[in-house]
Symmetry: C2
Subunit: 222 residues, 2 copies
């Protein structure tokens, strides 16, 4: 930012995320590059060049490249989980007793699929999260393995909705449902378009959510 500290500059509408300027520039540029090309294929120099900041900024503001990745992962995961928890909570309020399976699954799948919409502000964040889940550092993988408190909310809810199922049944079906979700990166959509010879114009994420919900709910019905 140029040294013009005019008071008029405060009229900019750039939302709340403006704590340290360059720290945020790095954060956003890194998230985008990681999401598009993968962690290992993006260098610190790529990030700082894209952000228009100095090379040393990453290590100054985040400590290391690994720590930067972990920072992005933690923040976006927290955001996504917050939206999911809110929807699950609302489903609980809407229903006396346990919500039906479909509403529980909707609370799990709707937030990430909303993010996936072409014009959504968090579209790149979801791509980042999906990638970080499989390509991330050992630290990230450790968190995914050990911190299951978030998922437990959903498995508990599903167990209450379907007390006839064994916990193992619920865990596996939840696992399958998440597999369906995590498979939705860009390339796969393309494959779909090739398979269907372009007959489908379904970049419409709402329709995709409906398909996924129907499939997963049927899987739980069995």
């Amino acid at each position: 930012m140029s040294p013009t500290t005019d008071a008029a500059a405060s009229t900019e509408v750039e939302a709340a995320e403006t704590e340290a300027a360059t720290k945020n520039l790095v954060f956003v540029a890194a998230e985008r590059l990681f999401a598009l090309h993968g962690f290992q294929n993006v260098s610190v120099r790529d990030i700082t060049a894209a952000a228009g900041v100095n090379l040393a900024s990453v290590n100054y503001h985040f400590g290391s490249k690994d720590a930067l990745l972990f920072d992005i992962f933690k923040r976006r995961t927290a955001e996504l989980n917050r939206e999911r928890a809110k929807m699950l909570h609302e489903a609980n309020d809407r229903n006396t007793g346990s919500p039906p399976v479909r509403e529980i699954l909707a609370a799990l799948l709707t937030p990430p699929l909303r993010w996936l919409a072409p014009d959504h502000e968090r579209r790149i964040s979801l791509q980042f999260l999906i990638r970080a889940r499989s390509e991330g550092t050992d630290e990230i993988r450790q968190v995914l393995k050990t911190d299951v408190s978030h998922l437990r909310r959903f498995s508990d809810a599903l167990l209450r909705a379907r007390p006839d199922l064994s916990p193992e049944d619920v865990y596996w079906r939840l696992h399958f449902t998440l597999g369906m979700l995590h498979n939705n990166r860009f390339a796969e959509f393309d494959r779909l378009n090739v398979l269907s010879e372009g007959q489908t114009s379904e970049s419409d994420v709402v329709a995709l959510l409906e398909r996924m919900l129907a499939f997963a709910e049927a899987g739980f019905k069995g």
Copy 2:
């Protein structure tokens, strides 16, 4: 192999794969390391050290590290697709008219899940394939996107089994089913064990196949 060219050495049961000795050592070591640690995290030096061969072997026998990866990918993909095609063919023979959905899905899922068995010779190959699918080079991703002839066999079969479904329905549900499958790397199993607090002793792949088939079949029933 030591220079003992005894005729008795031919009694070894090492199957067919013995064309160039070191070329195969490199192939096997690279597949294992790529599967366990990812393409980017394994150096040519790691591979040749694990294989017990000279550093230059990779470039001499395969041309480059990328070409080595692509070579492994091509061979293992062909093997897997061959087994799937065989099962689909047998399902066609078993049934007059079109095979039921379950048998088609079984032809798709059984081979990779068989490979996943703890003592199976191709266990590491499947981990490699799952990893290459998401972390591979642009060349691999290009093949996955454009070469859909293999998957088309299955979508065609499913369309014949369920002529009431639109092609789009079939494509998406097939996509979901593959997502369930591709999500089965090692780490995820661990998460399952944590979630279920160790109550499940289900490293049994047969039971996993049954669960996946039931879930996917139900998804297609809807």
